[in-house]
Amino acid sequence: MKVSLKWIRDYVDIKLTPEELAERLTIAGLEVKGIQTIGGTWDKVVIGEVIALNPHPNADRIKLATVNLSTQQVTTVCGAPNISLGQKVTFAYIGARLKDPYTGEDTVLKPAKIRGVASEGMVCSEKELGISDSHEGILVLPPDAPLGAPLGDYLGDVIFDLDVTPNRPDCLSVIGIAREIAALIGEPLHLPKVHYEETDKSIESFALVDIVAPDLCPRYCASLITGIKIAPSPSWLQQRLNSCGMRPINNVVDVTNYVMLEYGQPLHAFDYRKLGGRQIIVRPARNGERITTLDGSERTLNPDILVIADKEEAVAVAGIMGGLDSEVTDKTDTILLESANFNQAAIRRGCSHLQFQSEASIRFDKGLNSELPLLPLKRTTQLLLELASGRAAKGIIDVYPGKSEPKPISLTAREVKRLSGLKVKIEEILKVLKALGFECQEGDSGSQVSVSTPYWRSDIKYSADLVEEVVRIIGYEKIPMSRLSSPLPRQESRLSPSAQQSKLEEKLRSILTGSGFQEILTYSLVSLEKLQKLSPKVELRIPPLKVANPMTREQEFLRISLRAGLLATLAHNQKFEQGGIRLFEIGKIFLPRGKDLPEEREMLCAVLSGPRAELSWQADKKLIDFFDAKGVVENLLNHLGLKASFDISDDETLFAGRGASIIVEDDKVGIVGEVHPRVAQAFELSNTICLIEVDLAKLLAKITRIKEYQPIPRFPSVIRDIALIVDEQVSYRTVENIIQSFLLVAKVTLFDLYRGEQVAKGKKSFAIRIIYQSPSHTLTDEEVDQTQEEMLARLRRELGATLRD
């Protein structure tokens, strides 16, 4: 809310600078987002009156204006088309600080001759004064502007832009803010005196109010004013509306807006003669009922929306906007003035249905108190009598089905201390609460107060609320600082599944970054299109959960795998990366479970592609392939004390025959392989792309055991290298399995794979290092020879393997 400090000063005397005041308000919960000073630079600008206008001797469009400044008369050159005799204008002396109307920058007025005639100063436009962007003509002040007075005294102001939190609708008003300030700085609050004369004719003879939906309209107050003369508002009123960012319209509308800004109560003036009959009905709209609102748009209503109606049709959308048909116009002479209370939720539903908010609905939406409407109604009536020469009908309509009494709240100094840690004397508590308008009754013991909440503070319900009031007015900066002294909660076992899970993630992150993988974090929401790119088939195996109100098509579905995010990120980075790229993400995927919350499964996904090493003088210049990815998987599992086997995978993202399932103890925990070229193409990727995916929950299930110590071998090992020639279709695993099955074999390492001239066509040669070791004794050559002979015999028998010469 924008609010004029000058206006606030009507109710409270402020000695602080605007900056100091802003700081206090901000700390106390009413954040001042911005301070705009109007006229801070107007020290050489005064109010004058144009008393003579003569043509310029050398130019047609420029005039010589004589301006009376009360103490002296000056002559100036003026080219503004709107200057005329008798106007009150602003006059800037040479040296005045103004804005350059063309560049908008600060400038100082210099002596100048315009077409040979010297000017003693300048008559200013709004833009030159920094009030607005208007530069079509000079600023013309109202006739009552004080001649010769510094402009700063007359028009200068400081505007606070306040961020009012939803719990404080009372601070969407000048009085509410003034009350806060008064309490903060310890000054009294002066409220306007509301009093006016009524005519003899009773309001009931004009109108009756019927509330059909009392739950949605707890109170409806109205006054009636006859003999209204519609005219522009006086300049002071226009100025105040302008300063709070509202556009002046006419005296009636302006007064209702003025009082809304002053008290926070929205009011609405109906042209009484345009209402059908005397009856005002507050009722839910009928299904499909239509109304053209003040902004000229036709709106279709439904029973969720509350309307004000005459006996035929809706004349206003309650609390949101008036109808065009009953609008106050130049011809209006009698008005029915509404000041009502509407249910907050109903207003909110209405606004969301109509996709519309108004200054009124913003206030009702926060929940105004039903005690509020009466006083602002009287204030508005009073001002309309003064400013629109109206006459008030006798009495006020006040239909109040929803009256409720707030319960007093008990507060002790002990409670203030218990919650805030701040020791406050009961006298201090009383002082603060009273300044904010709370009524306090001291208990017998003198340590307890019974506090009644003023109607404008519906947000206060508990002693905790009062504690906040006390502490924020005293100042949050006064709260001492302490460290938690309460006992620590029981520590969760490191072996619990959740602790293990976070440990696992931490470990994987550390292994992967150490292996050259960059961690990325991608959106949990993806487009259907991206999900479909992952599989050549159009149908998805799992239908992903859809967001009902997505911000963009790109983020419409909850991811069912991390793959799309990684592949898209890889594609993005391939555009400018020359070296190899290795990326991983550890994150959740979301698997639907009917109407229940989805299963959130923690996954690891990694992609790698491009040159194996950074380009360098000694580096490996080969491209990443399947075995790089497999090596990463083996390394990961090895760190976790697990061993995997790999089986052919039919996963659709992987290239058939070049992708494998990762099997740990007979369970598939993930996949590793080359991405299907069509998938790679869909993501606009180049090079061979390898992808790893591991289900962390499945992995975790395999590593809940604590690692068990194995004694370090005491006896020396024997190393034997062999080269085996086998048929092309014999897999390495079958060879290794046979070798491993011999008890004395401690380790088997494939150190070369050869195909070519040295071996027959359709054959390949494995060079294998076998390390023999016994836990019980030093091996003899004879023992090793014998084992190896048996081994070779079995390899020959079962796989047709022969020893290469």
């Binding site: 939190t165 905790a464 502490v471 938690l484 909660p489 961690e519 959106y523 009902a548 109407k595």
Partner: protein, 344 residues
């Protein structure tokens, strides 16, 4: 024979002078002291000499042998020192050649800052707990004093999975605060925990807005927990992350599930409080919201608000990383551009 010995000795000494490296020294040793060296030959042939001569030559030869052995040792030492202090030209490395590179990756800056934040709170005895990203309306709003149609719902632009299902509507949590309820439902005081996690916003992205963010929620509940404890904890935290010198501001703010409510800001890192675009000319940068757990919230999870009290806070990880590293565009975090990620 004695003449011959003298010659051999002189020759050996002469050659030793020319020895420049251990390899040459070894050759010299073989030549002059080895099994096939002339000196060894003479010593072996002593038996063939007449007794008189044998004694004289033997003594001389042994003396020369001892002398040469000691020279050898000396030279060895000299060479050793020489190698350590100044290697041969041919052995010098061009150490300006690049090292053999190791490819290493890095953690995402968000992970790094989350780790740091969690570390600070873990050292204060907070346990790290996680919760679901997809939540019920009940936990996200209703149980936090934000029923349907509450004006404070506007404070969280929410992505919904279901519409019009009340508390049973599923949504992408717009904050980590639902975990306050879940935690208090399953644990009894003393509770002291933090919850890092992803949150979601129905928001168009720009330099200061993202549709996903990471938050860290904090909760401490027990008897005698006060606003002063909250203030001390959060000031400690700010000083841990931003340095002891950094100004911290503790002001009243509103969140429906705390009372009294708090907002914490730190002095702007760019303008140092003078006011700039980053801080919106206020000199302060908001980093977290906090407060004392609302009595209604405590009562809802069967914790008696007259006996127990607690504080809660929620902070945005990216915001803290941005202030820490001077990042001016939040979109960089999830653009996953390696040129950005590799800087951390």
């Amino acid at each position: 024979m004695l003449e011959r010995l003298k010659e051999l000795h002189a020759q050996a000494l002469e050659e030793l002078k020319k020895v420049n490296n251990p390899r040459e020294l070894e050759l010299w040793r073989v030549r002059h002291l080895g099994k096939k060296s002339n000196l060894t030959k003479i010593l072996r042939s002593l038996a063939t000499l007449p007794l008189e001569e044998r004694r004289e030559v033997g003594a001389q030869a042994n003396e020369i042998k001892r002398a040469l052995e000691s020279n050898l040792e000396e030279k060895e030492q000299l060479l050793q020192e020489g190698i350590l202090t100044s290697p041969q030209e041919s052995q010098r490395l061009d150490f300006t050649l690049p090292g053999r590179s190791l490819t290493t990756g890095r953690l995402h800056p968000t992970t790094q800052i989350l780790n740091e934040i969690c570390d600070v709170f873990q050292n204060m005895g907070f346990q790290v707990i996680e919760g679901p990203d997809v939540e019920w309306d009940y936990y996200s709003f209703e149980a936090l004093n934000i029923p349907q149609h509450h004006p404070a719902r506007d404070m969280w632009a929410t992505l919904w999975l279901d519409v019009g299902m009340g508390g049973k509507a599923r949504l992408l949590r717009p904050h980590t605060s639902p975990m306050q309820i879940r935690l208090m439902e399953r644990e009894r005081p003393p509770i002291r925990a933090i919850v890092p996690g992803r949150v979601y916003r129905y928001e168009a992205t720009d330099a200061t807005h993202e549709s996903i963010l990471y938050q860290v929620e904090g909760l401490a509940v027990d008897t005698n927990i006060t606003l002063a404890d909250l203030k001390g904890t959060l000031f400690d935290f700010c000083h841990c992350l931003f340095g002891e010198e950094r100004k911290v501001r503790f002001r009243c703010d509103y969140f429906p599930f705390v009372e009294p409510g708090v907002e914490v800001a730190i002095g702007c890192s760019v303008c140092n409080g003078a006011g700039c675009r980053l801080c919106g000319y206020s000199g302060w940068l908001e980093i977290l919201g906090a407060g004392m757990v609302h009595p209604d919230v405590l009562a809802r999870v069967d914790i008696n608000p007259d006996i127990y009290s607690g504080f809660a806070f929620g902070l945005g990880a990216e915001r803290i990383a941005m202030l820490r590293y001077g990042i001016d565009d939040i979109r960089l975090f999830y653009s996953n551009d390696l040129r950005f990620l590799r800087q951390f």
